[in-house]
């Protein structure tokens, strides 16, 4: 990797860390004292996510396909 690229990636990682930490701090004060999600709400969220994931079963249904997709994604970068 070129030195310039390495510095750029390190800077991006540092900026991401700052961004996420800032958001967590902002979020902590915003959500303080607000009610937590109920068990029923959490269950609904999980159900929603699982239903969405099911849609991809046919995309990643063989190790050959998965390998090919990963290869395409890596080559695209």
């Amino acid at each position: 990797m070129l030195k310039k690229e390495y510095i750029y990636i390190v800077m991006a990682a540092k900026q991401l860390k700052e961004l996420v930490e800032k958001q967590i701090e902002k979020s902590t004060s915003f959500w303080a004292g607000r009610p937590k999600m109920t068990a029923q709400e959490l269950e609904a969220v999980e159900k929603f996510a699982k239903e969405k994931s099911k849609l991809f079963e046919k995309v990643f249904d063989s190790s050959e396909k998965v390998e090919n997709i990963i290869k395409m994604q890596k080559n695209a970068l």
């Binding site: 961004l19 979020s27 609904a44 929603f48 996510a49 396909k65 997709i69 080559n75 970068l77």
Partner: protein, 195 residues
């Protein structure tokens, strides 16, 4: 204001059965609780799908509705928050890939427009690529009633029937995201910037 700075304060609700759960409140004419989920797409690939929608009551049941007609027209803020959640997730899972697409033609187009418009902000942290599949996705037209400024309007949504892809799906191409070719992309991928 930069795109990502428009994000609402989201709350990370935790991980349950591999599903990362986030919650935030969209502010406007009404307060709408929105949910973002990041869930694995398969067992043998480190890819995750992003889903988001309104937390709603449907009779006695609570659901996450990603076809909801209720919104505050705050698309930038909502999408910036979704990206905040994605970056939060990737910060703790730096090798994962996020798969992103809209569940209606309108939303899919809108999201790609927003990504293209804010590409510099996003590329500060992310490598972005766009992909196509070989199969044609069936589109179902559904009528929806939306309330804007107290008035009811009828509109037609064109929902993608992904369940129609019953004989398997083949990804044909994945390429570096190109703002001029977004109409071709059926999905968008995000990965943390790497070597």
């Amino acid at each position: 204001m930069k795109f990502l700075e428009k994000a609402y304060s989201y709350r990370f609700e935790g991980v349950k059965n591999e599903v990362y759960q986030f919650r935030f409140i969209s502010e406007g004419a009404q307060q709408i609780t929105k949910i973002v989920t990041i869930a694995p797409v398969g067992t043998n690939i480190d890819w995750y799908n992003v889903g988001f929608g309104n937390l709603e009551n449907e009779g006695d049941e609570i659901i996450v509705n990603d076809f909801s007609e209720v919104n505050n027209q705050d698309y930038d803020e909502v999408l910036a928050t979704v990206f905040g959640c994605i970056l939060h997730f990737l910060y703790f899972n730096p090798d994962s890939v996020i798969l992103f697409f809209g569940n209606t033609l309108h939303k899919h187009r809108l999201y790609k427009q927003k990504i293209s418009f804010n590409i510099e902000s996003l590329e500060q942290y992310l490598d972005i690529s766009g992909g196509k599949i070989e199969e044609k996705i069936v589109v179902i037209e559904k009528e929806q009633t939306v309330v804007r400024k107290g008035k009811e309007h009828k509109r037609m949504i064109r929902e993608k029937d992904i369940t129609s892809l019953s004989n398997g799906v083949t990804v044909s191409t994945i390429e570096k995201y190109n703002k001029d070719k977004t109409s071709d992309y059926q999905f968008v991928l995000f990965k943390l910037k790497s070597e």
